[in-house]
Symmetry: C2
Subunit: 221 residues, 2 copies
Amino acid sequence: MNFFQEKAVTSSDKTFFQLREEIVEGHISAGSKLSEVELSTKYEVSRAVVREAINRLEACNIVERKANVGARVVTLTSEGLLELYQIREALEGMAARLAAQHMPDAEINQLSSLLEGQQDEVKQRNVYYQEAGDLDFHYRIIVGSQNQQLITMLSNGIYHLARMYRVQLGMTGPRVTTAYDEHIHIVRAIANRDGELAEILMRRHIQYSKNNIAVKLSNMK
Amino acid sequence: MNFFQEKAVTSSDKTFFQLREEIVEGHISAGSKLSEVELSTKYEVSRAVVREAINRLEACNIVERKANVGARVVTLTSEGLLELYQIREALEGMAARLAAQHMPDAEINQLSSLLEGQQDEVKQRNVYYQEAGDLDFHYRIIVGSQNQQLITMLSNGIYHLARMYRVQLGMTGPRVTTAYDEHIHIVRAIANRDGELAEILMRRHIQYSKNNIAVKLSNMK
DNA sequence: AATAACAAGATTGTCGACAATTTGTCTATT
DNA sequence: AATAGACAAATTGTCGACAATCTTGTTATT
């Protein structure tokens, strides 16, 4: 589940993780107000640690804060989704390019065998895009870029917001085997050390995902 | 100077801005430790506001913090510079593409005339890449993308770190008229609503900048 | 009736003090 | 002499209280 292992050393960390999960999973609804005192009693910590947690969520673009007024969970809009996926396209495209340049052969082989292992499930039971598998794939490529700032940006910030959209729009939908094939092609480009192609394919792949979600979103209105 | 007008409403804001400026401009040296008590006496505020300011700086990748140990200003390395410019290339390239799609004609015209106004200085006195002009150019395109998350990311986070590198490596160097010509071509692509080309040109432009700085950096060692 | 000024309540911002953790030094043991 | 352990100093983490600001509802004035 937690690919990028985050260990909560301080109390603020724990509160931050809990709060983030509740928001992303939809237990705290989008657009709702975050009262510092309310949360501090709920989690049994002081207001100071709640404030710090909220500040960190703000840095992730998961909550918005106004001075002297308070913090609200962001609202999910089709514009926001579009914006987010434009950023993902740019950054993960670059990650794929860099992975083609820097990813060690060993890691590429692991990634290949990971996909091969998924092949059976996909072809027989049509259960790809099972969050976990998709996530694992993307995360390994991001790490493969060996760009620490890029890794941090994507895993700390963008990833959770993207998941929030998927979870709250009920993305268990179709997009089954096609995504799998796209993954295959991307890995092949990386294995061939073709950064140019890897970037192009990754960007296409993310565009398709976006379109898939955007359809769902427009259906809900 | 401040394109994206940031007004400090709260005391934390002010401390954050001051601290960020001192770090970026090199008055607080890279790699140095940030003591909360020391800073709180220096700026005459409580530790709480200093903590909040430091947290924000951490979100900008300008300081690094370890739990129960403290915060340090990041150290400037050639790897860090490389990573930063890879990110800029991806994000600003996307910004240029989006600007070609969404930027209003009026803004494009303003941008064109801005460059025309700079032409004299450039051709006659060789003083382009005068920080301000370059900055204004990039910022207008970022805003032209009309992607709010992208705008926030670049202006709040990445921009200041990039400036920190430039300032502390003494980037007043050459790269005079070439950058100007690159700007011209990018605007032309945007005016033609050619997002594909605008992105390519912007990415090249940023690659050149990176190379220019990387040379300086390797000379200093 | 509409608007403006005001007051009460609630929420966020700031502060100083205490608790927990780390770091460095000194001592004791092998 | 080197290592381990314990102690002391300093720094960060957490807390509750107070101050400043915003919001809401009421009253007064036109």
